[in-house]
């Protein structure tokens, strides 16, 4: 990564890529050595955010190796926030830089330097920033603080940026692996939760399998086109008509499957609820934003750049996947009793809308999809911030009951959560509404009426469970709140009683919370006792929530963010 520093050593003179002097083994002439040394121009500005993140990760590692253990608990998150802030600044610089110059390929033609990739670099930097902010209080609460979480997060972001900028399947696969392997470990990070390790293992096995499928697809695509570069593929396919395109179609299908797994599109989504539930909550939010964005960036690169001329072949496949994703995600989310699982299905359903944008295969669709991913990053970071707060120590309560009565206990927090839920449901004056509107409009413009209608139908179904959570926050816990909950109730609701292998239900029946559970009128949600009133909001989480909420409203009522996304649709 920092090896590219060599550019400065060699000097600013940019030489043409090595034509290579004629090298016969064992006989390299001095002249050849002096004048035909192999090197390629390395344009650092094209990978600036990526460099910042990866060097930052190394710096964190060095600091942790030098400093005594647990000398400063807040140091690593602080550094991570600074690093990702710098990366965000670097991507803003890039945005201006690309505007001034033309989009290019860079560093041995391995990456594209265009606004599309810069937008993703910004998105990923911001998501990393939120991830670090949210992780700090969570990891300290769970006693997991250490440098590893932040190093993994920074490196996962590096991989995600590589995916977004990749100009060929080799770079794309490498980015995919860097991101995925870091995410597997992050999922299994909570050592004391058995579910965490289990989820990490599931993610690892299924993820490795999907990586292998992706690789097979890349190999077939290489066989069919003779190149791994997207732009060369597209040139080749535009020039040539393959009479017998079995390999090409096979490669394309496998690439779609491999990347579809990463974005949890429906026939490939089975890992998603388990992993979302298993991963530590702030990591879940980070994963939902970054992995999805990077996976979609890869899909856009492959399908819209590499296989642009094969539109007629892949659009029906994406159509089917989009429909399944929308419907299955929305319908199954209703049946969930666990907040994180519900959000997993919700995010599956949200991915369906981005697929609508992809299916349109137009710049309007791409703009809509990019806007969707951008806004979703903020929404999902905020949502998981709230879930991380209400779930209590040791992730004791992830069920819907944990959020019950939040409106009374923390009105501000409940209001913000309501905003995020409404945004995901697509209510006007939130960013979610505009995002859904634009992708559906793109579908309509391409004559995809059925897809548009299914999208709206899925939104209506999804609105049901978003609103149910919203109502639950403001419904009364039906407990005499004036009275302090007795010890029994507090214990039963909050944490399993240590030292006893007692299931919760018998313990519950002693506290007043049991009354709430049994006298719960609607019976739709099996509720445990509401947790005690105090939900402390750490400073870092508060900041995140404020920023996310502000952005969600801002992007919902004004156009700059959408214009931003529209500018990013020009590929290399």
């Amino acid at each position: 990564m920092i090896g590219l520093l060599s550019h400065t050593l060699v000097g600013q003179t940019v030489q043409a890529p090595a034509t290579g002097c004629q090298v016969t083994p064992g006989k390299v002439t001095g002249l050849c050595q002096a004048f035909n040394s192999l090197h390629i121009p390395v344009e650092y500005r094209t990978i600036l955010p990526l460099l910042v993140l990866s060097i930052g990760a190394l710096v964190l590692l060095v600091i942790s190796a030098v400093l005594p253990k647990r000398s400063r608990p807040g140091l690593y998150p602080l550094l991570t926030v600074i690093i990702s802030g710098l990366a965000a600044g670097a991507s803003v610089f890039q945005w201006i830089d690309v505007g001034n110059h033309a989009a290019t390929k860079a560093i041995g033609n391995q990456i594209f330097y265009d606004r599309f990739s810069v937008l993703f670099m910004l998105l990923i930097s911001v998501a990393t920033l939120f991830g670090a902010l949210l992780s700090d209080s969570y990891l300290q609460r769970e006693g997991l603080d250490g440098v590893e979480a932040y190093v993994l997060m920074l490196l996962a972001s590096t991989g995600a940026m590589l995916m977004a900028a990749s100009a060929g399947t080799i770079m794309l696969f490498l980015g995919l692996e860097i991101m995925s392997i870091a995410l597997y470990v992050m999922t299994a990070y909570h050592r004391r939760r058995a579910a965490s390790g289990e989820g990490g293992l599931k993610y690892f096995i299924l993820g490795s399998f999907s990586s292998a499928i992706f690789l097979y697809g890349a190999a077939l695509a290489y066989g069919a086109t003779g190149t791994t570069q997207f732009d060369e593929m597209s040139v080749f396919l535009a020039r040539t008509t393959l009479p017998n395109d079995g390999i090409l179609l096979g490669g394309m299908a496998l690439l779609i499957v491999g990347l579809g797994f990463k974005v949890a599109a429906v026939p490939f989504h089975f890992w998603s609820p388990d992993v979302y539930e298993a991963a530590p909550t702030p990591f879940t939010g980070y994963m939902a934003a970054v992995a999805k964005a990077a996976g979609f960036a890869g899909l856009f690169r492959v399908l819209l750049e590499g296989f642009h001329s094969q539109e007629a072949n892949w659009r029906p496949a994406i159509w089917l996947i989009a429909v399944l994703t929308l419907l299955v995600g929305s319908v199954l989310a209703i049946a969930q009793r666990d907040l994180k699982r519900m959000m997993a299905y919700s995010s599956i359903s949200q991915a369906g809308y981005v697929l609508i944008g992809l299916q349109s295969a137009s710049s309007q669709g791409t703009a809509g999809a990019l806007f969707y991913l951008l806004t979703y990053t903020f929404i999902i970071a905020g949502t998981f911030a709230v879930i991380g707060l209400v779930q209590g120590e040791g992730e004791a309560r992830n069920d819907l009951g944990a959020i019950r009565g939040l409106g009374r206990r923390r009105p501000g927090l409940a209001l913000v959560m309501l905003l995020f839920l409404l945004a995901q449901a697509g209510v006007p004056f939130t960013s979610g509404f505009l995002a859904k509107f634009y992708v559906i409009a793109a579908a309509v413009n391409r004559g995809q009426y059925a897809l548009a209608i299914i999208g709206m139908l899925a939104a209506a179904i999804a609105a049901f469970f978003y609103l149910r959570v919203g109502l639950l926050m403001y419904s009364s816990p039906e407990v005499d709140e004036t009275k302090e909950p007795t010890d029994g109730a507090a214990l039963a609701g909050l944490r399993p009683i240590p030292g006893f292998d007692t299931p919760r239900e018998p313990a519950l029946s002693q506290g007043p919370g049991a009354v709430a559970a049994s006298s719960d009128g609607d019976g739709a949600v099996a509720l445990l006792a509401p947790p005690e009133g105090r939900v402390e909001i750490p400073f870092t989480v508060g900041i995140t929530l404020a920023v996310c909420a502000a952005f969600t409203i801002f992007a919902g009522v004004s156009s700059p963010v959408l214009d931003f996304a529209k500018h990013a649709t020009t590929y290399f």
Binding site: M1, I2, G3, L4, L5, S6, L9, V10, A18, G20, C21, V23, V28, C32, Q33, N36, S37, L38, H39, L58, L61, V62, S64, A65, V66, G143, L491, R495, I497, P498, G499, F500
Partner: protein, 174 residues
């Protein structure tokens, strides 16, 4: 592919030697097993169940060091072959790669990968009193995984409930 002929020959010789050794020992060696001979030696006590061997976790860290340097060396080889063509550019490339690998190495060492301390250090961290107490006749042996140094267990967060003592609280402060 002629240059592989010696390797193939070596392979054949190795296989023949291994097979021959097995066959010879089977044919020539006397084999009169009894129960006492085949059983594991346990200081005269009849073994009751097979015991799974336990490796310290630090083996993994050492294995990791091996792997990363293995891969670095693999990359070094083609680099060295064309080093004269690459010049300073190549030097900087490989220096950066090696730096990253070195940072990982330093991190591993700081985590105790090479820290094979003496036994007394292990004993000091025993979470449960190793001596007999006044009331117990059974000496409580700490769980093996709590004895491992370098990766010593975090102090368990002391829970407010008085109903249970956290692990490790059994040790007297003395």
């Amino acid at each position: 592919m002629d240059q592989y002929l010696p390797i193939v020959l070596l392979l054949v010789v190795a296989l023949a030697f291994a097979a021959g050794s097995f066959a010879a020992s089977k044919l020539l060696g006397p084999s009169r097993p009894t129960g006492a001979k085949t059983g594991p030696y346990e200081s005269g006590i009849v073994p009751q169940a097979p015991v799974a061997a336990r490796f310290p976790v630090r083996f993994f860290l050492v294995a990791m060091i091996f792997i990363i340097f293995d891969i670095e060396v693999i990359f070094l080889y083609p680099w060295a072959v064309i080093y004269h063509q690459l010049n300073t550019f190549g030097l900087a490339e490989m220096a950066a790669f090696a730096l990253v690998v070195f940072v990982s190495f330093a991190y591993l060492v700081s985590n105790g990968a090479l820290d094979w301390g003496p036994v007394k250090k292990l004993a000091r961290k025993a979470p449960v009193n190793l001596t007999r107490t006044t009331t117990s006749t059974v000496r409580r042996v700490p769980r093996p995984d709590q004895l491992i140094d370098g990766m010593s267990p975090r102090p368990v967060d002391s829970e407010p409930e008085p109903t249970a003592e956290p692990v490790g609280a059994g040790a007297p402060e003395a």
